[in-house]
C-alpha cells in the first residue's frame, strides 16, 4: 500500500470518528453533571433514521441535522424527567430508551431502506487544503467533521476553563456544596442532560447524511456504536481530550480491521469488525484497575522502587467517575 492511500485512509478515519466524537462528548457533558444517559445506542439509530427521512422528505440537509438533534434532545429529556423529577432509575430508563430507539428506527425506517438521498458535500478549505499531507488529512473534510474537531477543544475549555464549567464539575462531584453556592443543581442537570442528548443526536445525521450516507436498517452497521461510545466515555476519564483520543483509536482500529482483511484471508470480516470491542474491555480494565483495593494491597507488599513505578503508571491510566454520577439530588 502506498503513502497516498494511507493518508486518504487516515483522513477517512478522522471523518469516521466524527459521529463517535459527538456521542462521546455529549455523554461526557451529561455524566459530568451526574446523570447517566444509557440510551446512546438507540438515540444514534433513531436520529440517523429520522434525520435521513427528514432530509429526504424536505430535500434539506440542514433540516435533517436539526431533526437528529431534536430526537437526541427529546430522548434525553425523557430520561431527565424520569430520573431527576420522578426519581426512577437512570439506568433502567436509559436502557429501555436504548431498545425503544432501536426498534422505532427499524420500524419507521423500513420505507426508507436503501433509498438514495442527500449527502453533505466535502468542503475543501482554501489554501490550507493545498498543504501536503496535513491538507489532505484535515482540510478536505466536510463541515460536520470540522465541527467535530472544534467541539473537542470547545468542550475541554468549557469544562476546565470557564466558571459555568466549574459549576458543572461541582454538580457532578459535590452537588450539595454546589447547591450551597447557589447552583440550581437539578435545573443544571436537566440542561446538561438535554445538551448532551442533542450532541448524541448529532451523531445520527453525521452517519446517515455524511459518513455512511443513507439508511440501511439492520445492516447499517450502526447498531453497537452507541454502546462503544459509552465505553469510550469511561476510557476518556470524562475529559474531552482523552475521550477524543479514544474515539480516534476506535475508528483507527475499525479501519485497520477492513485493511487487514485482505492480508488475513483466514479470518472472516465479521470477526475483524468486532476486534475493537475486546480491546475496549482491556482499556476499561486498565483505566479502572488502579481504583481497586486488592491492587493497592498488592502494591503495598512490593519493594519501594517497583511500587512507585507501577503506582505512577496506574495513576496515569486511571480515571475516576464524577463522585455523584447516577445519584439523585434532593433539594431541601
Amino acid at each position: 500500500m502506498n503513502t497516498d492511500l494511507i493518508i486518504i485512509g487516515l483522513a477517512g478515519v478522522l471523518a469516521a470518528a466524527a459521529p463517535v466524537l459527538f456521542a462521546v462528548i455529549g455523554e461526557t457533558l451529561t455524566e459530568r453533571a451526574g446523570v447517566i444517559n444509557l440510551s446512546v445506542n438507540g438515540t444514534i439509530l433513531l436520529s440517523a433514521m429520522g434525520s435521513f427521512a427528514a432530509a429526504y422528505l424536505t430535500g434539506s440537509i440542514v433540516v435533517g441535522f436539526l431533526a437528529g438533534m431534536v430526537i437526541g434532545g427529546l430522548t434525553a429529556l425523557i430520561i431527565a424527567f424520569s430520573s431527576i423529577t420522578l426519581h426512577q432509575s437512570q439506568v433502567a430508563v436509559g436502557f429501555v430508551m436504548a431498545l425503544v430507539g432501536r426498534d422505532l428506527a427499524y420500524f419507521l425506517g423500513s420505507s426508507y431502506m436503501g433509498v438514495s438521498g442527500p449527502r453533505l458535500p466535502a468542503w475543501n478549505i482554501p489554501v490550507l487544503s493545498q498543504i501536503p499531507l496535513v491538507g489532505t488529512l484535515f482540510f478536505r473534510q466536510d463541515l460536520i467533521t470540522y465541527l467535530s474537531f472544534l467541539l473537542i477543544f470547545v468542550a475541554w475549555l468549557w469544562i476546565f476553563k470557564t466558571r459555568p464549567g466549574l459549576m458543572l464539575q461541582g454538580i457532578g462531584e459535590r452537588p450539595a456544596a454546589a447547591f450551597v453556592r447557589g447552583a440550581n443543581v437539578n435545573r443544571l442537570r436537566y440542561l446538561y442532560t438535554v445538551l448532551g442528548g442533542v450532541l448524541v443526536g448529532l451523531a445520527g445525521p453525521t452517519y446517515s447524511l455524511s459518513v455512511k450516507a443513507g439508511w440501511k436498517g439492520t445492516i447499517s452497521g450502526l447498531d453497537g456504536i452507541g454502546w462503544i461510545a459509552l465505553a469510550i466515555t469511561i476510557f476518556g476519564g470524562w475529559n474531552p481530550l482523552r475521550a477524543a483520543f479514544g474515539a480516534y483509536l476506535f475508528a483507527l482500529l475499525q479501519w485497520l480491521g477492513v485493511v487487514l482483511q485482505s492480508s488475513l484471508p483466514g479470518i472472516p470480516s465479521q470477526v475483524l469488525q468486532v476486534a475493537p470491542f475486546p480491546l475496549m474491555i482491556m482499556a476499561l480494565l486498565l483505566v479502572n484497575i488502579g481504583n481497586t483495593e486488592w491492587i493497592e494491597r498488592l502494591l503495598a507488599g512490593m519493594p519501594e522502587s517497583t511500587r512507585r513505578l507501577i503506582a505512577r503508571l496506574l495513576r496515569a491510566l486511571r480515571a475516576s467517575p464524577p463522585a455523584a454520577l447516577g445519584v439523585p439530588f434532593e433539594q431541601e
Binding site: 420522578l86 436502557f95 420500524f107 423500513s110 459509552l230 470491542f277 479502572n288 484497575i289
Partner: protein, 347 residues
Amino acid sequence: MVDLRARWINIGFQVLAILLALLFTTGILLLAGAPPLEAYRQILTGSIGSFNKISDVLVAWVPLLLSAAGLLITFSAGLWNIGIEGQITLGAVFTTWVLRSLQDTTLPPGLIITAGILGGMLGGALWASLAGALKTFGGVNEIFGGLGLNFVATAITLWLIFGPWKRPGIGSMSGTEPFPAQLSLPLLPGYRLSPWAVVLGIAAIVLVYMLLQGTYFGLKLKAVGKNIRSAFLLGIPTWQYMMLAFILCGALGGLAGAIQVTAVYHRLIPSISSGYGFLGLLVAMLVNFRAIWAAPVALFFAALNIGSIQLPIVLKLDSSLSGVLQGVLVLFVLIVDGIRQRLIHKT
C-alpha cells in the same frame, strides 16, 4: 399501609400505563401509514390463532423465561447483568461443542444431549463469571464489561461458523451443519415445541422463586443488593455472593442457549440469542423484580414477538413493532409509577 383503596389506585395507575403504551404504539402505526386495528389483529391471530402459533409462542417463551429467571437473581444482588446476551450465546457455543465432539461416539443420544445441555450451562456460567471477575477484581462496571463481552461472544460465534465449524464447502450465515435428528430434544409430533424445554423453563422459574423468597441465601443476596456496605458489615461475604449471582444467572442463560441449539435450531447460528437476553431484562423490570409475575409477562412478550412475525408478511410492516410496544410499556410503567409516588408524597 397497603389498604384496599391504595391497591385499587395502584392497579388504576398500571392500567393507565398500559393504555398509554397502546396509545403511543397506535400513534406510531398511524405515523407509518398503517391501519392500527388490523396490525393488532394480525399480532393476535399470529400468536394465538392456531395450535401451531401457540406452540411457537411457547418455543419463544422458554428462553425468555430462563433469561428473566436468571436476571431476577442478579437484580436481587443489585447487579445489572446486561451481559446475559453473551451468556446465552456462549451456552449455545458450548452445547454445540459438546454435541460435535460426542456425535460420532457410540454413547446413547440421551446422554449426549444431557451432556450438551450441562455443557451449555457451564459455558454461560463461565462467561458470566468473566463479567463478575471484571467487576470484582477489575473495578469494571458490569454494564460495560457485559456489553463488551456480548460483542466478543458474537465474534466467537461468527469465527466458529465461518472458520473451524464451517459447513462442508463454504461457511454461511445459515450456521453450522445441522445435527442428526436423534440429537434433538424430543419434540411434540408435528410441532416445533419440546415439552422438555417447557419443563426446564418452568422448573427454573419455580426454583428461582423459592430461592429468593424462601431461603437464607436469597435473603442475604437481597441484603447485598439493597446496601452492600451494611451487608458486608453484617458479615455477608459480599463479593462471593455477587459472583455466585453472576454464575447462577449465567448458567440459566447458558441453559437458554443450550435449548436453542438442542430443541429449536439444531445447530449454531450467528444470532442464536435472538435478543431474548435484553428482552428478559425488560421482563424483569416490568414485573418489578417479583419472580411470581415473570412467567405470565414473559408469555405475553413471547406472544407479541411471535405475533408480529405476521406484520411483514401481511401488512409489509417491520416486525420490530413488538419491540416498540414492549419497550414503551416498560417506559410508561416506570414513568406512571414515578408520578404515583410523587403524588403520594405530596399529599
